[in-house]
Symmetry: D2
Subunit: 87 residues, 4 copies
């Protein structure tokens, strides 16, 4: 089914304490080469017919993101985006 | 800075009530062609040096996702992924 | 305005990697006496009239929690619950 | 085990689109007397020894909340808080 993906991230200038917590936990895993971790949301919208980017953008703007503190990006999902990377 | 993106979604067979709430709210926006909405997490990991997929996968497995109820996918972020789609 | 609070937490037997990340980050803050951290959701529902616990429970069950993996608790918010503790 | 609860909510003046989505979905459940829904986080911190509110407040300030956009409240969990209300 055709799918639109909306990525929502806090704006770069806004502190993300949950990402910070993950970053601070990494040395205990022996990881020392990570500069930053940011945690946002990924929303998958399946359309009954054609995927509609304008519609998805409107949904994101009203129900998925707060444009004052968050940025969002909307795109049609391409089948090869995550291919082979799924664990 | 080189970046790895980790997408974490509830497994397909697990109900996502927050996505369901968004889907149920859509008719009030005049949207009737959406079949489903699923809400997950998107994590951006910036590496000080080369992006390291194996490392990112290990981080995801231990600190970002619960493999019993969630699937995750790891990929190196390509600059054109969201180009032109940012609102 | 009368308010009902719904607390949603992953069931105790389900691993919470985000809470684990916070717990793992604590030694870097000099904190060593924390046994566990669990991260859930708190939802505040304001009613136009009387707070309605049965209604809130129905909303939680359908739109706020997934009963297969999460527990939830519903209560009327009492004004002194957080008094003096707000930072 | 002694437990401290940290409630984190977006500041009242900051729009909460996820709560808005739930509120907008309620008429379809036949619910019309809800004025607003706000979704935040509830974090349970178990201490190995005595529950330490000052410590919990420091953890919240650094790893759980972003004080620019969120308010948090810290309290020792009392056993009767949710008694009888668990679904």
């Amino acid at each position: 089914m055709p799918r639109v993906v909306v990525d929502v991230m806090l704006k770069p200038e806004i502190l993300d304490p949950q990402g910070q917590a993950v970053a601070n936990a990494l040395p205990r895993l022996g990881v020392s080469d990570v500069a930053s971790v940011r945690i946002g949301r990924r929303i998958e919208i399946e359309f009954a017919g054609e995927p509609d980017l304008d519609r998805a953008r409107e949904i994101a703007d009203k129900l998925l993101a707060n444009p004052v503190i968050e940025d969002f990006a909307v795109r049609v999902d391409t089948s090869d985006e995550t291919a082979g990377a799924h664990s």
